[in-house]
Subunit: 326 residues, 2 copies
């Protein structure tokens, strides 16, 4: 799958340049620096690359989707900056997070600035019609509302151990899937696809977004500490409601799993015990299958497209979501 990373790399140069150009006019200096900081921190640029690749895969030109892609990356960056404030996460992409460097106030503003810029950029897309720009913008705005709703749902799950699978799926769709779906839909719109194809590309994005998030839950238990960069089972330690924890709680009859999830300070032995319970009751396998099914469905959805190298890349990206190990 190093191929996929290479392909993403071939798109990131144009996207980075567009972002740098568009953010170059921000003043004063501290706001400009705080706004551009995370965009230079070497993110994968998966979302904007998906926008450009989708534009090509529906028969359009990547250039026509360039501004939409850059805008979507800025929306993603904005949401990371504000989430890190809310979740008090002090590191992001291996660097101190924006609020750690500039403080909460400037971090709030930097997020707001990127958010504003994103809409300004997308509406200024070139080589596309006003109708296309309009439709792409509506798609992104809808995703932004969902991101906020998803974050609010996620915060509401804290201290709750009765979260249902449906609630969880809604949360991850809104928090993660909606922007990925908007990325591929916007690519289809800017590439000039018809409504049927546009809808299909939204569904493709939604499905790989779900798989992406479920895979995150899976890797927390199934990867190794060195690859993951954090201890195995840290979600269990934090009592986090993942699809695996939810399925496990619904599957086992005694209270031991709930006890461990509720406990404040678990030993590694207790976390290992929980992993064993989750393995034995089939919860881990269930999550893995759910992710696999989503990826399979995503690849089926692509059948609406004519064969092309870009279509193949979209199919490879769907596989890549599950083959990554961190």
């Amino acid at each position: 799958m190093s191929d996929v990373k290479e392909v993403l790399g071939t798109y990131s140069g144009d996207i980075t340049k567009t972002i740098e150009d568009e953010l170059s006019t921000i003043t004063p200096d501290n706001l400009a620096e705080a706004s551009v900081y995370l965009t230079r921190a070497g993110g994968k640029m998966l979302r904007p690359a998906l926008t450009l690749i989708t534009a090509e895969a529906v028969g359009g030109k990547r250039e026509s989707a360039l501004k939409a892609g850059a805008a979507i990356e800025l929306i993603h960056t904005f949401s990371l900056i504000h989430d890190d404030i809310m979740d008090q996460d002090d590191m992001r992409r291996g660097m101190p997070s924006v609020h750690k460097v500039w403080g909460d106030d400037v971090a709030i503003l930097a997020g707001d600035t990127l958010f504003s810029k994103a809409f300004e950029i997308i509406i200024g897309s070139e080589g596309t019609s006003s109708d296309q720009n309009n439709k792409a913008l509506a798609t992104v705005a809808d995703a932004c509302v969902k991101i906020c709703e998803g974050q609010a749902l996620d915060m509401g799950f804290e201290e709750r151990f009765d979260v249902t699978e449906d609630e969880y799926m809604e949360m991850i769709f809104k928090k993660t899937g909606a922007l990925i779906a908007a990325a591929t839909k916007a690519g289809a719109i800017m590439g000039g696809a018809d409504d049927e194809v546009i809808d299909a590309m939204y569904e493709y994005g939604r499905l790989i977004g779900l798989a992406f998030q479920i895979q995150d839950d899976y890797l927390d238990l199934a990867s190794d500490e060195e690859t993951l960069g954090k201890p195995i089972g840290s979600d269990i330690g934090k009592g986090k409601m993942t699809i695996i924890a939810i399925k496990g709680l619904a599957s086992v009859e005694d209270d031991r799993l709930l006890e461990i999830l509720k406990a404040e300070n678990n030993s590694q032995d207790e976390i290992d015990e929980a992993i064993e319970i989750l393995t034995n009751c089939g919860a881990i396998e269930y999550a893995r299958n759910l992710a696999l099914e989503s990826v399979d469905k995503a690849k089926q959805v692509l059948e609406i497209l004519d064969d092309s190298s870009s279509k193949q890349v979209l199919s490879d990206i769907a596989d890549f979501v599950l083959e990554r190990s961190a």
Copy 2:
């Protein structure tokens, strides 16, 4: 001037209804409540009313500008919510501010949600072309960038006593004027005006926005405590750089004014002393004249429009900005 308040009142019903409708789909409940809270707190709705009145004044229909107006009110509300977090202001419109009721995290998210909704609403404007919706949205997005820049500039003025008049004017234009200018410009766009009129209406909004902010500085020294709802001279007590303080510091030769502005805890006698210095050196009159000139220019700009009752209302609103006493 109770007439202007009455006229604003005749527009606020439609705007309020549009906002309520558009926000009714937000979930979960706490996010929905935090998002809608301030929109129900009885703001003047000056900005959206300006959008609708301008649409009429250029010969268009108020309905065509309704969604744009609602969106601009949401942008205004979003900026109040985030500013109150940054400035740690615990009251807003006579009620506890959003972050006091729901906490900083939900307040950040509620602001982000209103921001997202605003763009979604404006792009879904009805009875206007995609080109018009596009242009209105670009106008609002540009104002949003400026609002963030203005807030960053304002925060950068803290602890500084060498702020220049130019710096101050840039800050208040970005923080306050830009959205008012966007409100009138969006109204002109949605009302179907040509580019010359659209630009003129932006200029009208910019000028009354400046007058509005300068009047705020003026009232802090020239109103009375009962009308203003806070002690006279509170800006001096806080060492805040207003146009009056900046002009005063540039006009007087001894250091007494600077001393009082820099001091942490001024007595009322000291504040009265500073007001006397500012009066004697002409700084208060200077600010008042600046506001008067802006309003005069704003009314001259209106001459590009054919006579109508809506044009008259715009002229009255320009006067109203200076005749308000709180």
